[in-house]
């Protein structure tokens, strides 16, 4: 049951050729930089720097701030000193010392601490958490130098360079199958939502389905596709004979024998769906172990970015990547048909 997308190359003259794939990142990855108040001190004698850093790390280890570089070059080039060092957080010293302008001995109360080479403290604001994305890193670095372990995939995703133009064409091909299914469903009086599940290893579309909520209130397009995958693997619950646009491909036994066994349900598969899944469907994708999801239009109760981010929800044992904005205009036009 080869999908019909190839036959309909004409459909590719999509009005919406300007779409961009946008990664849906976790809240931690999308949030603004939070800052903490800290005291920094000029290093007046450069030769003391390494000793000072060592001694400071004993009295004020800043254990939760491993991403902070303790010493920075002075921003003001006309300054008499070249380096500045973080001594401690404001919250590390007593309230009474915080209220007046603290001196060096308020920050370093131990009599044994060798204050040689340190100037007078001043307030700075430093990033509270390690940056997870390049934009966060760039914003954090405006306040104080910070280390950053870059995830190249995330950076490419954020700059729209994750997918090559041929991958982008594939994404469009699969989403086009979902859009066509949505239109077929609409002709049957269903909500205009369509979906396709793809095995990215073979490039084959395993199932295409659309909303069937007029028949069954829980048969959203994603639930239909999950059940169609079950059919393709010798299981399945509901019959779809009346709905020709809901279909699946049984994997070729000669090919699957090579790979020893089929994946567990949707392991390794990708979902393409015209509209952001609801919480029922999003969690069904977790249960089914989907590997990636691409959607077109956001939805008001959506659970992959709008109301929840089920794909990176803490406490769940399976996470997956989500991208939105695929053929956005076409998909948004479908949602207007409801």
């Amino acid at each position: 049951m080869e999908p019909e997308t190839k036959k309909r190359k004409g459909m590719e003259s999509d009005p919406d050729s300007s779409w961009h794939v946008i990664p849906v990142l976790s809240d931690e990855m999308s949030e603004e930089v939070t800052l903490l108040d800290a005291y920094a001190v000029p290093i007046t004698d450069k030769r003391q720097t390494s000793r000072l850093v060592k001694d400071l790390s004993v009295v004020h280890p800043l254990a939760d701030l491993q991403h902070i570089k303790r010493v920075r070059a002075c921003k003001d080039k006309s300054s008499p000193h070249a380096l500045e060092v973080i001594v401690c957080l404001v919250s590390d010293i007593s309230i009474s010392a915080q209220t007046r302008r603290p001196t060096l001995t308020d920050l370093l109360t131990s009599k044994d601490f060798n204050l040689k080479g340190l100037g007078e403290p001043f307030l700075v604001r430093i990033p509270a958490r390690a940056p997870l994305t390049r934009p966060q890193f760039e914003r954090a670095s405006l306040h104080w130098p910070t280390s950053f372990h870059e995830d190249k995939q995330v950076t490419l995703g954020l700059t729209g360079q994750l997918f090559t133009s041929s991958q982008q064409a594939k994404i469009q091909e699969y989403m086009t199958a979902a859009v066509e299914a949505a239109r077929s469903g609409r002709e049957e009086g269903m909500d205009a939502v369509g979906a396709a599940i793809v095995d990215p290893k073979s490039g084959r579309i395993i199932t295409v389905g659309h909303d069937l909520t007029r028949d069954h209130p829980l048969h959203h397009a994603v639930m239909v596709c999950i059940d169609l995958v079950a059919w393709a693997q010798g299981g399945g619950v509901y019959p779809y004979g009346k709905h020709p646009a809901c279909r699946y491909t049984v994997s070729d036994p000669l090919i699957s024998s090579e790979e020893s066994a089929q994946p567990y349900i949707c392991t390794g598969y990708e979902l393409y769906v015209t509209r952001e899944p609801c919480v029922m469907c999003a969690m069904a994708l977790v249960h089914s172990r989907i590997s990636r999801v691409f959607y077109g239009a956001s939805s008001p109760d959506g659970a992959l970015g709008t109301k929840f981010k089920i794909h990176c929800q803490k406490g769940l044992n399976h996470h997956f990547d989500v991208y939105k904005g695929v053929m956005r205009q076409t998909c948004e036009e479908l949602t207007l048909l409801h």
Binding site: H216, P217, L218, M223, I226, D227, A230, Q233, G234, G235, G236, V237, V250, S251, P253, L254, S256, S257, S260, A261, Q262, P263, Y264, I265, T267, C278, V279, M280, M283, A284, V286, H287, S288, R289, S299, P300, D301, K307, F308, I310, Q313, G315, L316, N317
Partner: protein
């Protein structure tokens, strides 16, 4: 079917406040189902949907036989209610909004959303579902502000919770050592992908997934 007698409970809304004896009676049925499932080596979750003192749906987990990871006990029971409505040409929405779900384990996020979408107003459950719970354990779908996802529902948690947890623990314990070694099919015969136990073995923890769902 719609006698005056059966109508009354629904009309006066008293089904939303089940008495202790009602609650114990329905939950004990759910626990019997869970025990039976455990004894036959299946996920020990039992559930029933009660409407007007009638059990319209009874479910057990059917993930393994259907290869559909959403075939949780609640989904199976909900389908029976929908079927019951369609035979009698009743509006499922009108029936569901007067149904109570009794289940031994907190419904997962998927099932909690499904219960919302069908406007089930009340869920009585046994133990928490720490891994997937949708009534507060992982997410609170039951009361979340989701105006396009049916209606929020009320929960009565904790009925015989220790017993429900013990059954789940027993199930996890007996599961792992009993799982047969995966057979790698080189001949291309037989069902592609082999049995679901193969899958369970290959993907550590999927048995548990089914269990606590």
């Amino acid at each position: 079917m719609r006698s005056d007698n059966t109508e009354s409970d629904v009309m006066n809304g008293s089904f939303l406040q089940p008495s202790d004896s009602e609650l114990q009676r329905w939950m004990s049925s759910a626990f019997i189902m869970a025990k039976e499932a455990l004894e036959s080596g299946e996920v020990p979750v039992g559930c029933l949907l009660v409407y007007n003192n009638m059990v319209l749906g009874k479910g057990r987990n059917e993930v393994n036989e259907t290869k559909n990871a959403t075939r949780h006990a609640e989904m199976v029971a909900l389908d029976q209610v929908l079927e019951w409505c369609s035979h009698r040409e009743l509006d499922p929405k009108e029936v569901c909004k007067c149904c109570v779900l009794y289940v031994t384990v907190e419904p997962c996020i998927t099932c909690a959303a499904a219960l919302r979408l069908l406007n089930i107003p009340l869920v009585v459950y046994g133990c928490k579902n720490e891994r997937f719970g949708g009534c507060g354990s992982v997410l609170d779908v039951s009361s979340a502000d989701l105006p396009h996802t049916g209606t929020a529902f009320k929960c009565i948690p904790g009925h015989r919770a220790d017993e429900a947890v013990d059954m789940l623990k027993t199930f996890y314990k007996q599961e792992n050592p009993n799982v047969p070694k995966p057979k790698v099919r080189k001949d291309g015969m037989g069902p592609a992908g082999g049995s679901v136990t193969t899958h369970t073995r290959k993907h550590e923890g999927d048995g548990k997934m089914a269990a606590s769902d």
